[in-house]
């Protein structure tokens, strides 16, 4: 009866739903009433469980692949499982050590660190991992330097407070001396330090303009480059690792199932959209149809954001079938994000004292 929909689940139904979900996550095979009765000590016969399972199906928590098969959790079932039923697994000491030590190695470089993060996450979770590189829009200018390479070639160097260094070679017509460049560097530093990148093209530009009116042409080019350097294009970088791990999952052993996923994992923009709006540092899950991307309506994505010095700047995540080991993977993703936050923050603190402008 439809009236059973939306009724709160009683304890017994919860237990059965949990048992079915646990078992299915483990076995990837539809779970029958007999299996539940035998494998999980609920003190009930298979017939009773059969009835309860029929109810759970009617309420939308379970589904049947075909008429005489066992039950499988629906998206709703997984959602309930994640929110209320599963027993979150503690990270083992080995895992903690592995994550921490592996990541610590490559402290030196931001890009390496991100890359390594994706690798470890894939390796430990056994699912394809996706890491969005730190978003630079909210980063603050720390240092700007112009270096003259040749009469018409200038190197523009930007260091952000997140420890990120961006450089661009600028070609422009017209000469400019090293002294003038030094002067400009000083001016730019004074004006821009502490400003966030995304605020660049506001009033500030006009302000700068008056200072730099003498070098009008250069100014125009420089600003253009500045804006471009900080634009989305170069910042929407996405790192994927272990894409082939998805092949281990029986639901993707046929190429028709597997191909669209692989395609997704090769398209940075779609991956970006997939993760970009998740900004909680605790692990978040999107289950099946909760994902915006149609091609992964049979997948779940576990994400966790990371931060630099308290400012959320990026997201890491893993992709798997809806039959994912939520209880195991969620804490891993969360912890990995936390370690990444810590290391990035550490990285950004380097030389975070007063900066000489000489």
């Amino acid at each position: 009866m439809a009236s059973k929909k939306n009724q709160p689940l009683d304890e017994r139904k919860k237990k059965i739903l949990k048992a079915v979900t646990d078992d299915y996550i483990l076995s990837a095979e539809p779970v029958g009433s007999r299996t539940v009765a035998k494998r999980y000590q609920l003190g009930l016969s298979s017939a009773t469980i059969r009835n309860e399972m029929a109810d759970l199906e009617e309420s939308g928590y379970l589904e049947q692949p075909h008429a005489s098969a066992g039950r499988v959790p629906s998206d709703l079932g997984y959602r309930y499982y994640v929110d209320a039923l599963m027993s979150v697994q503690q990270l083992s000491g080995g895992e903690v050590d592995l994550i921490y030590s592996q990541m610590d190695h490559h402290q030196q470089e931001l890009e390496m660190l991100i890359h390594k993060t994706a690798k470890i996450l894939g390796q430990i979770t056994k699912y394809p991992s996706i890491v969005l590189a730190p978003q630079m829009q909210t980063a603050l200018f720390r240092h700007i330097q112009l270096v003259r390479l040749a009469p018409k070639t200038i190197l523009l160097l930007i260091v952000t407070d997140t420890g990120y260094v961006e450089n661009k070679i600028i070609d422009f017509e017209g000469e400019i001396s090293s002294e003038e460049l030094d002067h400009l560097s000083v001016v730019l530093n004074k004006k821009l330090r502490g400003i966030s990148l995304k605020d660049l093209n506001t009033v500030l530009l006009n302000d700068l303009h008056s200072e730099m009116i003498l070098h009008d042409h250069f100014y125009n080019e420089a600003i253009k480059v500045l804006i471009k350097a900080m634009s989305k294009k170069s910042n929407e970088r996405v790192f994927v690792d272990g894409a082939t791990k998805i092949l281990e999952q029986p639901e993707f052993s046929e190429i028709q199932k597997f191909k669209p996923l692989m395609n997704l994992l090769e398209e940075e923009e779609r991956l970006y959209k997939l993760l970009a709006d998740n900004s909680k540092s605790s692990a978040q899950v999107k289950i099946g149809h909760e994902n915006s991307d149609e091609e992964i309506h049979d997948c779940s994505v576990i994400t966790s954001s990371y931060e630099i010095a308290g400012r959320t700047v990026g997201v890491i995540g893993v992709l798997g079938p809806t039959r994912m080991e939520y209880a195991r993977v969620m804490p891993i993703v969360e912890y990995t994000a936390a370690v990444l936050s810590e290391l990035l923050t550490q990285l950004s603190r380097r030389g975070h004292g007063r900066i000489d402008s000489g």
Copy 2:
């Protein structure tokens, strides 16, 4: 009879081998004598062709998947086909335009250019593409600059003659003033300009040491970083694109066949080894067992090296089944490498005049 081995092929055998290979490359199905007789006007009956094909098999150019199937070229057969038989296809005007225009767009950044190259190559050839980033070992120092970010934090900036900019943030104990840094920059520039990166850790280091003895600690750290920056680690970068395209090939439609390939495409080091020794700017092919990597003994790799200002610095390539469209793809790889060479050279010429050391 074994005596037939290594006999030069007569014209008729060549024609038949070419027909079989052409047909198999197109259809992916073993080619029978009847097909050859019907589809290719050789003026011979299927029976005659049958006899010739038996000979070709005996000489090792053809193989039979099973007793009553058609013939398929062996690695040797493909090798002969590539070296002597195939009619190389001219690039269409559309292809030339496509490659050129697509690549021209992103002139600005070296990394973007490499990335884009991989994309285009994959897109046009319809095979997974692999691009090794420019090898920096042979690049020459053009400019070195030390920038003081904070009392104990220094930014080391290296610009090579290939237009590549590398930067490192160096932490070290001990203070150093901006003036000292400027002085050091001048010294370093004088000493290092024009030296190739790989020559860094030779006599030169001792030479430098005497100049920098005053800043011993800093010197040690700086040199360490210099060497590390130019070490293989950061230069063995490999870009892969369109890995999933391999799924379009019928020989890899089963996951067992496909999986090892995918794994290869995710392992940068193996890819590096696969391409690294190819250094001809004309398209080269490695067919099946000619490849060192065991897992791709049923694949071919077409490569072409690219250069910056006449110096070979990297390799691009595509991976496919041995049943690859050699005649179509080889010119594409070659042309793409040539365009890349041109653009990189262009990029490196920017501001290639005298450099002020002020």
